[in-house]
Symmetry: C2
Subunit: 349 residues, 2 copies
DNA sequence: TTCGTGGTGGAGAACGTTACACACAGCCTT
DNA sequence: AAGGCTGTGTGTAACGTTCTCCACCACGAA
């Protein structure tokens, strides 16, 4: 725009420059880059030094046109959920030493936005996708998975189109119910996210969690005490659910929430209603995020080994990307109860 | 690998298909896609319907070879920092209606890893970069910014190589000190991240914050009571700093931390030492993250308007990407004190 | 009629990389 | 000595876009 003499940004070093500098063909350099078959040690040496001397880095866009982009996309709805951060750490750690780069799309909760983000990733020729509890329709995910290696974390719906990593949420719910029953509680309510929203996923984490809760309650002969409330997994969502639940005539003595952050909302509601925790109400979260461990919170929660889930997902994905496996697989993690100060024996029973 | 008849994934729709289907040239379709000059309404119409009918989506890798990729990269060290989530929200919202996609790289705290991630983004031909408080060396960032439009969030070092968005951290520190002094405190300590690590940034947020703290203390005639402790911005870092600080013979009556999460670590230390908050110790965080607002926490903190910072950064970046501005600019936000239950008047003074 | 002129559409050369096909050399079998 | 491998290196056609010309047309002015 009229600036005097825009300083010509010196052109990037390309594979051709490397080839010339090393005195070999472009094809040879490409082979070394991809460590493909048919390269002698001498050639390796020559090319590698040339690359180092010129500080050459391959351009992913050009690679993407024929081969791989060495990019893995991770879709998640929202960065605030600390559990996702654990998963991310696992993914990153697994891929740190590889030549793949992880790029994250934080699409928000809107299924359409998520779908748009997934398409963006496909359009950018990413080699593989990890979708964390996608809200997008099942059909959309299956279509994507047909063309790009994909791992879905969270949803229990099995398929041979993509790999899956799940937590045994039903077992997790059972652990919580057992713990609370052992403390003498009988009126145990569950606050979970609304189930499937007609997007064809039949076994979301929430659905499985709820099923696990119900069956555990039945196992203890408490089927008629089952109380399920739906709420968004946020502080506000938990607060609203808490206000409803705790002012009900059939007020539960213990509440379990499907996410720590929702449990804290319930905490706030209890506080507002003058109920003490754990004396008047036992409260259990889910995911054992850093939140739960805070000194001032001390929330009993269920640990999901997010780190391990992430690294497993990454490992499985790379196997697929590199064609070392051609059949779908599903990995399931066993949750573990972490007891803290928010649960206590039912008093005056 | 011996699988029977790998189902040929039906090839993607390309610009050539669209051109053929619409009965026009490839060049014309390209023009419509980029809404370039020299396209008649009729042509627009024809091409757009063809695109819709074939469900065509341009392939970013191919675009990247000649023109833009319509991708914006955001670098941050760690997803757990809730303040970054606010910034991200701002960025996403600003870009939601545009044709740009935001991809996030969470590189961790290691400067080398961060540099690697920045390079990855450049290699992927991203159109623009937003770097949130990068730990990478200044030289590296300047070199990147010379070739790719870049906005740096956090660091106050001015330059004409890239745009900047900062919070007036010195003012923020002043607000806190004023507040605490008004409550009668005189021994006010600061816990902040270690300053510049020889990576050539002279005015990181920590440095500016510390300077603001010092000058506010001087302004109140408390220069000799200045006490600065360095700690990582994490629960553990805060805890360690807290243990040192609170067992010192010159124990402060108030502590301000450069990040909420560190404040919570100090909280834990205080708790462990039998100190009550706010009766025995006033505590102030920074960033006013969701953590600070939790019912069980109620931490006085400084709000940084992360959302606005993010949307400003995005807007500034797009201006540069699209060549609508060719001079660097710097945006500064004014922080605001949010008083909660963790600060109180000095008792028995 | 002739000449410009502005507005549209198209041809075709990049862009940097991969992957296919082939050439060549050296060695082992017969 | 002929033939067949095997292991290495190279030439070159893609890949799907963008973007720089260039051609064409219609129209108005001289």
């Amino acid at each position: 725009m009229g600036g005097s003499a825009t300083p010509k940004q010196n052109k990037r070093v390309t594979i051709t420059d490397v080839a010339r500098h090393a005195g070999v063909s472009v094809a040879a350099v490409s082979k070394v880059l991809r460590n493909a078959y048919g390269v002698s040690p001498g050639m390796q040496e020559k090319v590698r030094t040339a690359i180092a001397e010129l500080d050459y880095r391959p351009q992913a866009a050009a690679r993407g046109m024929r081969g791989r982009t060495y990019t893995i996309g991770v879709l998640l709805d929202n960065v605030r959920n600390a559990f996702f951060a654990d998963i991310l750490d696992g993914i990153q750690e697994e891929l740190r030493t590889s030549e793949y780069t992880v790029l994250i799309g934080a699409a928000g909760f809107d299924p359409d936005e998520q779908a748009k983000t997934i398409r963006s990733m496909v359009d950018r020729q990413m080699d593989g996708l990890i979708l964390i509890a996608p809200g997008t329709s099942r059909a959309e995910v299956l279509a994507t998975a047909a063309a790009t290696p994909t791992v879905v974390i969270g949803h229990h719906d099995g398929t041979d189109a993509h790999d899956s990593v799940v937590d045994a949420d039903d077992t997790g719910a059972g652990l919580v119910v057992d713990h609370l029953v052992a403390l003498g509680h009988r009126d145990i309510a569950l606050v979970s996210a609304p189930g499937t929203k007609a997007n064809q996923w039949k076994r979301t984490p929430e659905v499985v969690l709820t099923a696990g809760y119900r069956s555990a309650m039945e196992r203890h002969g408490l089927a008629e005490r089952v109380q399920v409330h739906h709420a968004a997994y946020s502080d506000e969502g938990g607060f609203k659910a808490g206000m409803t639940l705790l002012t009900d005539e059939r007020r539960p003595t213990a509440v379990m929430a499907g996410a720590d952050v929702a449990a804290l909302g319930i905490y706030r509601a209890a506080h507002e209603l003058g109920l003490r925790i754990p004396e008047d109400l036992s409260l259990v979260g889910y995911n054992n995020t850093a939140l739960a461990a805070l000194a001032t919170v001390q929330l009993t929660s269920v640990d999901q080994a997010g780190h391990t889930m992430g690294s497993s997902a990454a490992r499985m994905l790379i196997e697929r990307v590199e064609g070392r496996r051609d059949r779908a697989m599903q990995t399931s993690m066993t949750p573990r109860l972490v007891v803290r100060g928010s649960t206590a024996a039912l008093s005056g029973s």
